[in-house]
């Protein structure tokens, strides 16, 4: 079994002139990078790591945007034998002090020995550190890093690593997510890439095109490590630029004859609604063979909207595929739509919600259209378990559980969290679903997690922010997500109990919650709903019962005639 460094070295030696990554940067010419440049740039970073006393096995935090620095730094860390971990960049709306608190929390759990960032951002990073007290020995500024140089492979720590060693960490955002880093080994990632590659029928004409963030598993695994390590061309743009100019994704697919992309559900609607015709002149999407809907609830309607808008540009319906993925399984669990179009079925709503059995619709009874997430990839077994952990028959809804040879090593420095995640050797995903002849359908979520635009948000982090607002007491707020059909993703709602019934006072509290949560987290809070004492439903242990509060909120809104 090779390691990441073995694969990189082989590409460098066998096809040094092959362009592995093309970086698109708004307003500048596209930047192609060959394997030779990649390894030489990475070797420059290794010189700097060595000078700073960074050892193989150390964690290195990367706080960089998409670009050449990220590419060299990431693979420099890999070839050095260190463990790279990408931290999201500060956004305009996020309060710097909140970002510092998140960074300090990440440092305290993952114990990195260095952080790489830009000169402009160095002060921000240093403000989060406690020199002499925390693990960080060096803050490395990208413009001070040693320049590209010839690699001295025998001296690289990366080539001494074993397949079972941890190769990287991957986190989701917020205090909770940052403290639960998914640690992956070389062999887990390579097992995933090989088997997922088979599932999507990777071939020599494939070109990956992506706008996805690299701190997320979909961007990091499917649209960074898979093409670079397996030797397929990748075209990337930054999420920061894409969200302001979504047409660039389609232009890139056309220009580079892109074949593969992964997109969260909202993107299909976002692109269909917000791209001007003038930005699509001459665009040809006929090369796209698989656009996997992944990382948030996937909807048939999103596929239809996208197809109807872009079919005239050569988009093929068969190119709309689905994927169910989980960072703990490295990435993909299932893939649908590769050999035949994605499956969907209309399920009797009452049967699904009351009996928790997915029975096909009969006559004109209310139904829910379910999009199949596909069958499990070769190395992963999927089972649907009841609350006792026993497997359920086809069409019965239960918790989705996994077994594979690409599981996480553990949550980094969190054996407590790792232990809780497994039952009898099965990893519990926290998602509800059912199987039909091996096809997996995801119906909902057991875990209290909000997913906005593919980004995982922990509600407890948002509630803690709400408690900071004067007039809101600890334990008296509940945060949850509600699917918005118009945007194709979830809207975040907070219900908070307040004592005051004065409208001016309530407006002040409501504005305060909205501002504090929006500026303190990775999402914008959409709805604040203030209620009187004793409104919130609590569990027997006194914690807020989020799903029950969500149901209660939806019922009240329905009675008021407000739609979501």
């Amino acid at each position: 079994m090779p390691t990441f460094s073995d694969l990189l070295k082989a590409h460098y030696e066998t096809k040094p002139n092959k362009v592995c990554v093309t970086i698109l940067q708004g307003g500048q010419p596209d930047r192609p990078v060959t394997y030779r440049e990649l390894v030489h740039g990475a070797a420059g970073y290794i010189t700097t790591f060595t000078k700073n006393g960074i050892q193989p096995g150390d964690v290195i935090l990367l706080i960089l945007q998409h670009g050449i620095d990220m590419l060299y730094a990431y693979f420099g860390a890999i070839l050095h034998g260190a463990i790279p971990s990408i931290m999201p960049f500060l956004t305009e709306k996020l309060l710097p002090e909140r970002y510092r608190a998140d960074l300090a929390a990440l440092v305290s759990v993952t114990q990195p020995t260095s952080i790489i960032t830009y000169r402009d951002f160095e002060t921000e990073v240093r403000a989060a550190l406690k020199p002499g007290q925390d693990s960080v020995k060096a803050v490395i500024v990208s413009d001070q890093v040693d320049g590209p140089c010839l690699p001295d492979f025998p001296s690289f720590g990366g080539l001494q690593r074993k397949p079972e060693d941890i190769v990287l960490l991957q986190h989701s955002s917020g205090t909770t997510g940052l403290q639960k880093g998914v640690a992956l080994s070389h062999q887990a990632v390579i097992n995933q890439l090989n088997d997922y590659g088979k599932a999507i029928r990777l071939n020599d004409s494939d070109v990956f095109v992506s706008w996805l963030p690299l701190y997320h598993d979909m961007g990091l695994i499917a649209c960074w490590l898979m093409p670079i390590l397996l030797g397929y061309p990748l075209v990337i743009m930054s999420p920061f630029e894409w969200i302001r100019a979504p047409y660039r994704l389609l232009q890139a697919v056309s220009r580079y004859k892109g074949t593969l992309s992964w997109l969260p559900n909202f993107t299909y609607i976002f692109c269909a609604q917000k791209i001007r015709q003038r930005d699509l002149e001459g665009v040809d999407l006929s090369s796209w063979r698989s656009i996997s809907n992944c990382s948030e609830p996937m909807r048939w309607e999103a596929h239809q909207t996208f197809y109807e808008r872009f079919r005239e540009l050569g988009l093929r319906y068969e190119a709309l595929t689905t994927c169910y993925a989980m960072a703990e399984n490295v990435f993909a669990v299932t893939q649908g739509g590769i050999d035949a179009p994605v499956i969907f079925e209309d399920i009797d709503q009452e049967s699904l919600q009351v009996d928790r059995v997915a029975r096909p619709r009969k006559g004109y009874r209310p139904a829910i259209r379910m999009l199949g997430a596909g069958k499990s990839i070769p190395n992963t077994s999927v089972s649907i378990l009841n609350t006792e952990g026993d497997p359920l028959p086809d069409r019965h809804v239960g918790e989705v559980a996994l077994k594979s040879n690409c599981m996480l090593v553990g949550y980094y420095h969190r054996p407590d969290a790792t232990e809780k995640a497994f039952i009898n050797g099965w990893y519990l995903t926290g998602d509800y679903g059912y199987l039909v002849d091996g096809e997996l359908y995801i119906t909902g979520r057991k875990k209290d997690l909000i997913i906005v635009g593919g980004k995982n948000i922990y509600p407890q982090d948002l509630e803690l922010l709400a408690y900071e607002v004067p007039g809101v007491h600890a334990g008296r707020a509940s945060a949850f997500g509600i699917f918005n059909e118009t945007t194709g993703t979830e809207d975040v709602v907070i219900v908070a109990e307040v004592e005051s019934s004065d409208p001016a006072q309530q407006q002040k509290i409501s504005d305060g919650i909205r501002a504090t949560v929006t500026r303190g987290s990775a999402v914008a809070l959409r709805y604040v709903h203030l209620v009187g004492k004793h409104w919130l439903v609590k569990t027997s242990s006194g914690k807020t019962a989020r799903s029950a509060n969500r149901e209660k909120f939806l019922k009240e809104m329905q009675e008021k005639g407000q739609e979501f």
């Binding site: 708004g26 305009e92 709306k93 630029e241 929006t518 914008a524």
Partner: protein
Amino acid sequence: MDGNEMRDILASYLAKDVMKQPNRVIQPDEALLTSGLIDSFHLVDLALFVEDNFGVHIDDSELNASTFDNLSGLIALIQSRQ
């Protein structure tokens, strides 16, 4: 169209379509981007709205707080291009 009229049209659009709070009053100097009132999902919508209603193109590279962060700044940008 004068600045006041422009401000009313923009404020009403932001309150109703972006913030989903039709009665919300937006002050001319109230931060829009750095406060998160307009999040990144809505930046393109705003650029399209400005182009459709005022005939002014805002480039995607300008959709950030260093170009405008409140209604006054946005109106000044629009007027400078009309």
